[in-house]
């Protein structure tokens, strides 16, 4: 493993010396000092409002579109056995549609949102419509897959009963599977909304609406005051959405199911639906999305002709062979980035978890100064983790480009910092959840906090930490494929160039390469995860729902999936 990371370090032109050189320090200090005071002239603040609202509206509509696509697809992609009675064999049509839906979902998922946005901007023109579709299609892939897995994981007795009573699959599904799955699906969709918000904050970089455009511009033009205001606003927005969705998720968990019999909850559901559709209508109007144009024959024709023009892919050897280094670079960025994130994540997870388990294992009374110190450490570590998480990789990349220069190393650092925010939080929650017995045993031997951590918690949590890290690697390969769009190395640059020059055949080749790379990493990491799990203790959480793990811990589902 050390060898692989070392190779990745070389492959992404890693240079920590450069990161801590005097030049970089000066740039960083400039950057940090430039942050204060954040730009606050009324003109600029006012100009921020619309893009920020756009960002929210795009994320909201995007997730709504994703749900519309994901629901039917997830039904098709659910193993036919779920809605069949025990001794019934599903017909060939059902089997084929199952495979086709799975394949489609995987394809939608493997292409990063930013690439969808780049393509839609060209087909449907600049503007929020392209952003909404990009999130809609990309997220439909993820949602559809996770929904299908939820359907398959539920107890099957209800649907089986309906099927043996002669109900056709769709009806069996609607009454036997869907009601029980609804709260979980809602929860997951809400979690994805948070992600969509972060995604829509960067789509502006390629012209798909939202705050990204202004942010990129301010960073590139060294206007640090503006950058500070924008980042602050984004932070508030994402954190706000985070806590709001957590609250709704709690409500969902305690809710009375899909079809409650009391009048009040029925009204509440109807009200919620109306509010949702109304908000959607408002968002469409606000974003000035030309619906009639988007759904016109002309739009369909231009989409088809655009895709048609891409075929066949450019397989010219001089072009394909030149991609080799870019592929390696992308791979290196994702590996080094994940490794940096794992290390940073552990360092931050330890203090972040301190509060909870010092409360659990501490032999000191609650009011001691030590406890207060631990609390402070815990809260500040969580704050740092949140900040890392809030800014998407691409924005971190824009920032690191100024510290270490253009190239893959900036990309790896960006991935590292953003992912550290995600992993640190997952790690800390995994550490908090280890069983208390070994901790107390180590503690009663007179061990200090760090020692208790190293000998009591670490061995228990380890397999789970590995699983999370590998899972994030799968996410990071998607991200590292597009970092090149802003100049941070890898395949993204070639894609940006081929799109800019209308080299459609090359664009197709590149998309195929990216999809292949993503699928390859998915397979490899899935296999590694299974190995790690078999080798590890039985404490390890089920990794069956790789995509949902993050959501799972974030919202502390009790019993939901387990």
């Amino acid at each position: 493993m050390v060898a692989i990371i070392a190779l990745a370090y070389r492959g992404s032109e890693g240079d920590f010396g450069r990161l801590f050189s005097r030049d970089s320090r000066a740039t960083l200090i400039d950057f940090a000092l430039g942050f204060w005071p954040p730009a606050h002239d009324p003109d600029f603040l006012f100009s921020m409002v619309r893009p920020l609202l756009e960002t929210v509206a795009i994320a909201f509509l995007g997730i709504s579109v994703a749900l519309i696509f994901a629901l039917p697809l997830s039904f098709l992609a659910t193993s036919p056995a779920v809605t069949a009675s025990r001794d019934d064999r599903p017909g060939p049509a059902r089997r084929i549609s199952f495979l086709a839906a799975r394949l489609l979902l995987n394809g939608m998922r493997s292409i990063p949102e930013l690439i969808w946005a780049l393509i839609f901007v060209r087909i449907f023109g600049i503007g929020a419509g392209a952003g909404v579709l990009a999130i809609g299609i990309g997220y439909a892939g993820v949602l559809g897959k996770v929904f299908a897995e939820i359907f398959e994981s539920l107890p099957r007795s209800a649907a089986e009963g309906l099927a043996s009573g002669g109900a056709p699959p769709l009806r069996g599904f609607a009454f036997g599977v869907l009601p029980a799955a609804m709260p979980l699906m809602g929860s997951y969709a809400l979690y994805r909304f948070d992600c969509a918000l972060r995604a829509s904050a960067i789509l502006g970089i390629v012209g798909a609406g939202g705050v990204g455009q202004q942010l990129e511009l301010s960073i590139k033009m060294f206007d640090y005051h503006q950058v500070a205001s924008l980042i602050l606003a984004l932070f508030v927005l994402v954190t706000g959405a985070d806590s709001a969705s957590q609250r709704i998720r709690k409500l969902l968990q305690n809710s009375a199911g899909l079809l409650p019999i009391f009048r009040a909850p029925v009204w509440r559901r109807t009200g919620g639906l109306i509010a949702w559709v109304g908000a959607g209508a408002l968002a469409i109007r606000f974003l000035e999305i030309p619906l009639s144009e988007l759904f016109s024959l002309q739009a369909l024709r231009s989409a088809v002709s655009y895709v048609w023009a891409m075929f066949p892919p450019d397989l010219d050897w001089s072009f394909v062979s030149a991609l080799g280094p870019a592929i390696l670079e992308t791979l290196s960025i994702s590996i080094l980035g994940t490794a940096i994130a794992a290390v940073l994540g552990i360092f931050l997870a330890y203090p972040a978890a301190l509060k909870t388990w010092s409360e659990r294992v501490s032999d000191q009374p609650n009011h001691s100064a030590g406890l207060l110190l631990r609390r402070v450490a815990s809260w500040s570590a969580r704050g740092v983790l949140n900040l890392c998480r809030t800014l998407p990789e691409l924005l971190w990349a824009l920032i690191f480009i100024f510290v270490v220069g253009l190239g893959p190393f900036a990309g790896a650092l960006a991935l590292g910092v953003h992912t550290a925010g995600v992993l640190g939080r997952l790690y800390s929650e995994a550490i908090e959840e280890v069983s208390g017995g070994p901790l107390l045993a180590v503690r009663s031997g007179g061990a200090t906090d760090p020692a208790t951590f190293a000998f009591g918690a670490w061995p228990q949590a380890f397999p789970q930490l590995v699983a999370y890290t590998l899972y994030r690697w799968e996410v990071n390969i998607r991200a590292s494929a597009v970092l090149g769009v802003v100049g941070a190395g890898g395949l993204g640059k070639a894609l940006y160039v081929s799109l800019g020059l209308f080299h459609h055949h090359r664009t197709l080749t590149l998309i195929m390469v990216i999809v292949g790379l993503v699928a390859g990493v998915d397979l490899l990491s899935g296999w590694l995860r299974r190995c790690a799990q078999q080798a590890g203790s039985s404490e390890a959480l089920s990794t069956r729902f790789a995509e949902t793990m993050e959501a799972q811990l974030e919202q502390n589902f009790e019993g939901g999936y387990r």
Binding site: I126, V206, F222, I274
Partner: protein, 282 residues
Amino acid sequence: MTRGWFLTAVLSISVNALAAENVLRVSAIPDEAPTELQRKFQPLGAYLEKATGWKVHFVPVTDYAATVEGLAAKKLDLVWYGGFTFVQARRRTGNAIPLVQREEDAHFHSKFIVASGSKAKSLADLKGANFAFGSVSSTSGHLMPRFYLLKNGIDPDKDFAKVAFSGAHDITAKWVESGRVDAGVLNESVFQKLIDEKKIDVTKVRVLWTTPDYYDYNWTVRGDLEPQLIEKIKGAFLSLDYGKPEQKKILELQRTHKFIPTQPENYRSIEEAAKSAGLLKD
């Protein structure tokens, strides 16, 4: 029921928004910051509105290629193109018409710039440097510089340590000034503007080399626009008079004294350059 009502409402709103007639949709390649483009366009837009009797709506764009697709998809009517994007639009649509250009655009140049402390004396000295172009689709920020680099025996893909696309001319200048890259290339008119407006520190950057003349920017319309309207637009541009204070302001924002007629033939050499530099494929 409720849902149906909302959908109807939404549809009628969007249809109403589109039904407004006689709107001329204008855009420009984003070779400078979008806010700057808007500022530059405002008085010109008002002038065109008066001269043509059509409502003028400026569509801000952040992506060069999207302006080409926009014209082809009939979502844009009048676009400010660079020479290379015009060639792409012409090839894409077959009938896009270049109307007018600034007198400077008939003999345009790109400037290669380096930090003032740089030891480079000629293009050949840039081998091994970190280099910044503007946008991939830019004429003066990518195509012509690449063409002349190749002519001078430098293959940007092989001879530079790193090649970056800053996205816009003013950003390229900032990158060289700050030392983010060793050298960069940009359009002479933006460079002059940055110096005039003191947005760049002339003690920190110097010009290494200037390209020979070539045709660049123009205002292009969709080929299937009404001929009368096309004539009106063209006339409006050509009659802009630097002597009139009101119109002088418009021309100054466009950084010129006068617009002149142009034609597709002017851009042949750009097309040839793009082919020989490998940026255009048949």
